[in-house]
Each structure stands twice: as C-alpha cells, then as structure tokens.
C-alpha cells in the first residue's frame, strides 16, 4: 500500500513536471520548434493564429486529462464507457 502511494506520488510529480513543461511550451509554442511548413493550400493568417491558440488550449487539456486520470483512475474507465477516444495515452 505504501509502495503504491510512493509510486503514485512519483507519477504525480512527473505529470506535474509535464504540466509545467506544457505551460512553458504553450508560451514558446508559436516561436519554438519551428521549421519551414510545406503548405499546399493558403493556411490563412488570422485563422491560422486562432488555430495556434486553440492548439495551445488543447495541449493544456491533454495534460489536464492525464493528470485527472492519474488522480482518478476510474475516470479512464468512465471515459471509455462514454466513448471518449484515449489513443493519445497509448
């Protein structure tokens, strides 16, 4: 039981770290990790920026979901029952 608790604490800390990393990533997202895009269609300007902002929010949601599943292991099962796609964890 104690071992389980320690393991969970480590996992918790790892997710928290990833969450912090995600926050940094969201700030740097629009500038870092860039290379030339090979756009075949006009990706727009305002809409592309909006897509970037939405991507940041969804990126945060990705970690929130991971965190939620860690503290509520049953949530994963509930989401599966509700048909929520969880392939991002695989």
């Amino acid at each position: 039981m104690r071992v389980l608790s320690v393991r969970r604490s480590i996992a918790f800390a790892r997710v928290a770290l990833r969450g912090a990393e995600a926050c940094c990533t969201t700030v740097l997202w629009l500038a870092a990790f860039e290379r030339d895009a090979h756009a075949y269609v006009d990706p727009g300007s305002g809409t592309l920026l909006l897509q970037g902002l939405m991507a940041v929010l969804f990126g945060l949601l990705f970690y929130v979901r991971r965190f939620w599943r860690l503290i509520r292991p049953g949530a994963k099962v509930e989401e599966e029952k509700n048909g929520v796609n969880r392939t991002e964890d695989q």
């Binding site: 990790f33 860039e34 727009g44 592309l48 897509q51 392939t87 991002e88």
Partner: protein, 487 residues
Amino acid sequence: MSSPDSCRTPASFRDPGGFLIRRDGRLFRVIYKPWVPHVQRFLGSAAARKFVAAGSFIPTHTLDPAQLEPFWQQSALPHNSENTEIGLLVEHEQVAFPSFPQEWPPEMLYSAGRLTIDLALALLEEGMGLKDATPYNVLFRGPNGVFVDLLSIEQRDPHDATWLPFAQFERTILLPLLASREFHVPLDQIFLTHRDGLEPGELYARAGPLQKLIPPVLTLCSIPTWLRGRADAKGNSLYREKRVGDPAKAKFILESLLKNLRGKLENLKPGTAKGSHWSDYMASSPSYTPEEFAAKETFVRESLAQFPPRTVLDIGSNNGHFSSIAARAGASVVSVDSDPRLMGELWRSSRAQKLDILPLVVNISRPTPAIGWRNQENPSFLERASGAFDVVFLLAVIHHLLVTDGVPLPSILEAASELTRGIVVAEFVGPNDPMFRRILHGRENLYEGLNTRTFEACCQPYFHIVRSIRVGESDRWLYLLEKKSNG
C-alpha cells in the same frame, strides 16, 4: 505515342503530387515519385477499405507498371526535377455526372464537409492526414458524396500539431454555409466568383454589431478578423511548422481541432425548408385536378416503360415528383431547379429513400458557366449534360422559359434535342392556362398565336412525335418526342 500531358485533364494542374489523365473513356492518375509512399500507405489502410466499402471514397486500383507503356514513352516526359518523375499510375472509377459546389444546395455542401472531416479523423488514427480540405475534393453519385482526390491524402509528421487546411475548410465550407444561413447568399454567388471560398473579413463586414459578438459569427469571422493584424505582424514566422515533442499530444491536438470543426459544421447544418416561391407550386397549382395530375403521371410512367432509360435529366423538377418516378423505374436521375430550398429538400428525401437522384441548383435559362483557369477547371453545365441523357423531362417548364425568360420556342426544342440522346417528355402549356396567364404580366399580345400546332411545328426539325395527350380539359398537352437521327 502520346505523352501524358496531351491527355491531361485541364483542371488538373494545382496539385504538386501528380495529375489526372483521361484516355479511351478511362480516368487515370499519375503520381510523382515523392508521393508514391503516401498513396500506397493509404490504399493499403483500413480507412481506405472502410470508406471505399461505404461508397464514400472513389474506388481506385494501381496499374501494373507494364501497363504504363501503352500510354506514353517514359522518356518523352517533361521532367522539371526529381519531384516530377513519375512513380505510379492508378485508375479511378468515374462519377457519371460531375457537379460542383456552385450547383449544390447547402445540404450537399454540409454533406461534403462532413465527409471531409470524417475522413480526416479516420486517417488520423492511421498516421495520415488531408493536405487540403475543399468541397472540390467531393463529387456526388446520386445524393451520396464520394471523396475523389487521392492526392489529398498524405502521411503526417507525428510531431506536427497544425492542420494546414483548417482555414481552407472554414473558407470553403463553413463560411459559405454561414453566408447562406445568416445572410441568405446563394452558394452559386459565392463559388462562381470565389474559388477558394470566403474570407472571414468579408462576412465580418456584413454582420451587425451584436451579431459579431455571438457565435458562429464571433468564432468564424470576428476573432480571425481581429487576429489578422497581429498575424500579419508576425510575418513569415507564422507559417513555420509547429512541432511538439510528444506525438500523442500532437495527435490529441489535431483530433480536438477536427472535432471542433465538426461541431461548428453541425451547428451550421441546414434545417428543413420553410417554403419558398416554388415549393408549394405543385400543391397549390390550380392547373391540375387530381384526375388530370394522375393522367400526367400515367403518361410519364408509360413513356418510361416504352423507352426504359438509364439516365434522365429532369429540368425544372420542382419537388422532384417526376424525378422520383424515374428513379424508382431504375434510372439515374439528374434533377435541376433554380430553387435551392427545393433541391435541398429533394436531396434529403432522395438520401432517406435511397433514390438515385442528384439534385442540382441550376437555372436552365442561365446554366452554370465554365469557370476557373482558362475557363477549364469546371466545365459548364451544358458541356457536361449535352448528349448525356437517354430521357429529358420538360414538364411544366417550357412556358416559364418562353414567357419569363423570353427564350424562343424553337430554341428551347433545339436545346432539348442537344441534351437528350433519345427521348423528351415535354409538357406544352397554352396561353389559356391559368398559370400561363399568371406569368404574362400584360404581355398577352406576344403569345396570341401560340397553340399546339405551333409547338408541333417547332418540334418537327428535331423530333418525331411518338404520341401526345391533352391533360383533361386543361390547356396542357403532354408529348412523347423521339429525337430524329439528324436532330
């Protein structure tokens, strides 16, 4: 020996991955070497099998390299670079009657959008994606959409969390649907003049102050317009590829973006029609008693039984009553009318009843023109329709062309003879008919001499009159016309 460029379809030039060629009535796609792995991966995927089996993706098969030789000499190809070296040849099944978004009711544009998003989500599960998202990737077989652009599909970078066609999907599908619903702009007015759809700023300028602050105008028009200045200030850095470290996160973001677009599309799904100028035409028409309408129906059924058609064009189809009769008799029907609401309703009912009817918003007095680069990207309606149908219906439409549009009767019959390969079922409505009088608006003198003898004389250069009946006691006459061999 011809080169592929000599058979290249005129609309096939934009995609950097290859092009289409037509030869001997068959449709082939040439794929350049760098794109071959993308195509082969898709053709071998579960998504391809699922969508082809459902009739939602055009059946495609790769050809044996030995079969390339009859088409051209490889050495004769104009190679600009290694990116245009030919790597693969595939053959596509053909869609009998291609149609374009400028001819669709909003319901069909919605359906094309839904197919695009569903395919993108299915591809995402297998590490692939769509590199463009335009309604021109979809054609319709009857009322059912089929995705035809094989080269739209690519293997995606697992670390890439941006869907580059996101804005194109909004421009060409969501914003036209929004313009149609909120501002009553017909789709033909959009797509005949805007190949790549509408910019958010165009609709933002039309929206009222309150409307700009409420979805869907807020999310589709206002925010992108407000962000545009900021985006422009970022310059080219905005267009750099954004990569995330965790592929699972990139996939989650893309899936969420696609589902967000699907939600916006569902919110713009066209509702059932509330009625239009023409929608109650048949129900309220004072021109037929029930017995007369039954007689008209019998005449049409008997004509179809006498000359069983594979293809039928129903001009001015209204609610598609006679299109349905032809479809139930086993024909593939293209049903055209100028009223988008009627065609939207017909699309719904054809889908629900699984009838092979393709409803298109086409005003036959001003048929869809050829558009695009060199007027060759989308051929005109008449180019596609001429000689393409075994039977053409001209039911209760000739008097509208004659009076409302001022088209001379001989010209109407000449056009009908060009559209049909064999038969025309025509309804002649005389000047004493109440509906004819209703549209005259004081121009009685122009049609004083018009009668069945005039009509039959105008038919004579193009058609044999197989039989004709008077509809009850009305001034309406039905004709079964057979095209003369020189007609």
